[in-house]
């Protein structure tokens, strides 16, 4: 008997196959990278090349949940829309009842609970998205969390999801330096460098959103990204020259 039909059924060796298949769907989605600095948080996503006639601005993979939290996802865009909608309502509901903005951990826990509920009810499939949630709590601490289709969540200093996530994560592990995280520019450059590893044709296919402490989220436009990319390429050339001499 195949154990991947109804998700409420465990397989004999303890797997929930539908959840694992959902994670496969995530691995097919475009890459997203998140880095947490001391005073800045950065999310970058790979922008898939769009058709000529398609309007560029309608494809947004980075969504603001509230003034102090935003998220990027990898996987099924339509599923993400549902989750983001519910999270936005919950952020406002929290503000109404508690008279304070949500903490990043709270809204991550909320999103994870929704995802977990869908792995334990009949007739519904899990959400096919992993998300990176970044932001600042109202006491100023930055956070980066990652959620998965199974409903688990973890805090990270830097992480990647989606296609080639493993490569990007290894790059981040190699190049993440605690001291660099003090400088906002270094954090942004680390995120861009990590994305450049897997994105075709350079800076054109990168979308980057940053949030500095006590400021609102800003999506960088193409010129700014190009500036960082050229700076990164210059640094690479210098490093190559030094190696040769």
């Amino acid at each position: 008997m195949s154990y991947d039909r109804a998700i409420t059924v465990f397989s004999p060796d303890g797997h929930l196959f539908q959840v694992e298949y959902a994670q496969e769907a995530v691995k097919k989605g475009s890459t997203a990278v998140g880095v947490r600095g001391k005073k800045i948080v950065v999310l970058g996503v790979e922008k898939k090349s769009i058709a000529k006639l398609q309007d560029d601005r309608t494809v947004r993979k980075i969504c603001a949940l509230d003034d102090n939290v935003f998220l990027a996802f990898a996987g099924l865009t339509a599923d993400a829309r549902v989750v983001v909608n519910r999270a936005r309502v919950e952020c406002q509901s929290h503000r109404l009842t508690v008279e304070d903005p949500v903490t990043v951990e709270y809204i991550t826990r909320f999103i994870s609970s929704i995802k977990q509920r869908y792995t334990q009810s009949n007739g519904r499939r899990p959400f096919g998205i992993s998300s990176l949630i970044v932001g600042f709590d109202f006491d100023g601490t930055p956070h980066l969390y990652q959620t998965e289709p199974s409903g688990t969540y973890h805090a990270w200093k830097a992480n990647a999801i989606g296609r080639s996530a493993k490569t990007v994560r290894e790059f981040l592990e190699k190049h993440y330096k605690e001291e660099d995280m003090e400088s906002d520019t270094e954090v942004i450059k680390l995120a861009i460098r990590a994305l450049l590893e897997v994105v075709q044709s350079g800076g054109k296919n990168i979308e980057l959103a940053i949030m500095k402490q006590d400021e609102s989220m800003k999506i960088l436009d193409q010129e700014e990204i190009k500036k960082y990319v050229t700076a990164i390429e210059n640094e690479k050339e210098e490093a190559e020259k030094k190696k040769k001499t």
């Binding site: 509901s93 009842t97 008279e99 304070d100 609970s113 009810s121």
Partner: protein, 270 residues
Amino acid sequence: MALFDVSGYKSHLELRGKTLGTGLRHFNFGTTNQEFAVPAGMDPSGFLKSCSHEGQGGVSIDLNHGTTTLAFKFRHGVIVAVDSRASAGSYIASKEANKVIEINPYLLGTMSGSAADCQYWERLLAKECRLYKLRNKKRISVSAASKLLSNMMLGYRGMGLSMGSMIIGWDNKGPGLYYVDDNGTRLSGQMFSTGCGNSYAYGVIDSGYREDMTVEEAYELGRRGITHATHRDAYSGGVVNLYHMQEDGWIKVCKEDVSELIHRYRKGMF
């Protein structure tokens, strides 16, 4: 229908077969699901109207708010003073009723109105505050705690609850003082007094209040307020329970009998 989801409208079919909705009450702090279900077809507010003076039949349920409680903020925190008489009509049920609920070391709630309502709903509030702390790993703020209580009251508005309460605490926004009552009113302020002796208490604390009082002066003002109210109001009496909310939590200052205090304050009278 436009905005169907946002409006919160639930058709009766949805309410019957809810399987996915019931688990996550804690994100709504228990405000969407009522604590007590009201049977379909009942109209508590209509029934109550017929029981008061305006209704026919000569039956009258009069809920007396027999108490005096007061609280005020000053430079060194918040002073809370309450009396301790529990009355059932003209019968004094207890002279040492406890009208302050210690929700946690940083939150206090006072009670006036129907003793049963106050005790029940404030203990429920204490439960929600504790759950909040366990889930979010930090103490609940005073504004959130008072909002929870007022939302609970709003759920049963018009159905005969009787509660006038003050929520006092110290959180990362500083000292907090909120007045919450059974109509769902929720007010933040510098000074409140509730119960049928409140006018006497207001007279005393209004005339003696200064923001830069010393701690001892503030204690004395709180004691005086309650003592003079119990002297004139038949439904207040017993002892004065005095609390001081400081930055690192509340302390219980004293518990003194008003019949002795009144002699101290009205020297020429007796």
